[in-house]
Symmetry: C2
Subunit: 247 residues, 2 copies
DNA sequence: CCGAGACCGCGTACAAGGTACCCAGTGGAG
DNA sequence: CTCCACTGGGTACCTTGTACGCGGTCTCGG
């Protein structure tokens, strides 16, 4: 792990041409890990569990992946590849970004464990790179690169934060083993005490007046996304107005 | 852990009036855990380490905290309390939100480990509640509660995403044991290969043309924040224009 | 004033989990 | 054919969260 021997996981060859043919592969291991993490959470994707899933010995995995951390990085890039951006610079930026946002959200909901992985810039996996090309291609002709970076970051951060909240709620519900309504009912005594105390007027207002929390997740998402897209629209030159800007 | 015996950590009394006086306290334990996590990361804040820090037996901690997970929740609420919002509904929403955003970012940078804690709605700790009151009080008179929720979420998600990236980069640098420039130099071979391949024009454009990545973290943050605040301004009724809206 | 019993600190013990180390077998290079 | 870098994988070690139980202590009901 010294600096001399550091190489990004993406530059490290999977195998050399020497010796016996490997029975497994990074792709197979990654896929198995993703499958387990989807079903039971990232912490369930232990090396032993993954090995069992593909019928390998535990230590065999280390022939393909330097450490569990690197495996998680592989997993993250793999699921990024699921977002369909092949048709992306279509000419209508609003449609493109809406589709991308929906795809990103759907992917996160399919793989809730990505919320717990810390990414960092230099982990430019192949799928992430492809995504960047397509996604930033959407606004590339309309704004300078710095503006593009800022606007895309705005969109990403909104989607991610929204989904992060959806996920942690769902996770909590699942862990409790209750139904959604039972789970919400469980925290009623506490919320009731807070409201009755009279010390939290705004919190009370949210609980009693706000209608947004009672919308479906999809509608909440659509509403928030609309706001962000309007915000992006305002930052674009007037000539770039999308034909769909009226809802 | 059955549903019958569930009570939120915030409703669970710290101690009863019975038996010998406890030597320690939740506050002391939480503070110690935060200190360790700040210095060495959340994963370093093990029960054994915390116990050693305050000179207690490992299992003694469980007299104060039901589990490590709950302790993390306590830690999260504690650091939320560090954001100074006491002067908050000041009448100038732009100043208030700028101050809040700066405080939130500074807090995250002081306690980078919060990026790894999953929150969920029902964990309304006392400090979080206070924060919500003050923060949402800023726009309460200007917009309906649903709009307020949306705008505050927008601000929060932007700040959090930005800081999350700062943090993961810093973490990666720290883990490598290198200086920032050495660390960046380390991924140069990979980036160079990508650029030279010619397959990633936008990525190349970012690497070669974008100036934003070369700004200081503070300037990057200021720029992004300005965009979000402008976006919020656009969503407010015209009469609510802040005196500072020109920059 | 005196049990009783709830609560304290904490040592012991166990079940996971990541992974270092080692060994036997394999198959391409010379 | 020989060599040896490579393979799969078993064993073992260390770290972590925490269940359990023990002996001591303090408050309260009588």
């Amino acid at each position: 792990m010294t600096e001399a021997e550091y190489v990004s996981i993406w530059m490290r060859p999977e195998r050399s041409a020497y010796g016996p043919k490997p029975v497994h592969s990074r792709a197979k291991i990654t896929a198995a890990a993703v499958r387990i993490a989807d079903a039971e959470g990232l912490e369930a994707a232990t090396m032993r569990r993954i090995a069992a899933e593909i019928g390998a010995g535990v230590m065999s995995l280390y022939r393909y992946v330097p450490s569990r951390e690197d495996l998680v990085e592989l997993m993250a890039d793999q699921v990024l590849g699921e977002i369909d951006v092949t048709a992306m610079p279509s000419g209508d930026w609003r449609t493109d970004l809406t589709r991308y946002a929906g795809g990103l959200r759907a992917m996160w909901l399919r793989h809730p464990w990505i919320a717990t992985v810390q990414r960092s810039l230099p982990s430019f996996g192949p799928n992430q790179l492809l995504l960047v090309e397509r996604l930033m291609g959407v606004l590339d002709a309309l704004v300078p690169i710095d503006e593009n970076l800022g606007l895309v970051a705005l969109l990403n951060s909104h989607v991610e934060s929204t989904v992060r909240e959806e996920i942690s709620t769902a996770r909590e519900i699942h862990r409790s083993g209750l139904s959604e309504s039972e789970w919400m009912a469980r925290s009623y005594p506490y919320i009731d005490r807070l409201v009755k105390s009279g010390e939290y007027p705004i919190f009370t207002k949210i609980v009693t007046e706000a209608r947004q929390p009672h919308l479906s997740r999809e509608d909440q998402f659509r509403l928030g996304l609309k706001r962000v897209l309007d915000c992006i629209a305002a930052a674009l030159p007037a000539t770039a107005e999308s034909p769909m800007s009226a809802h």
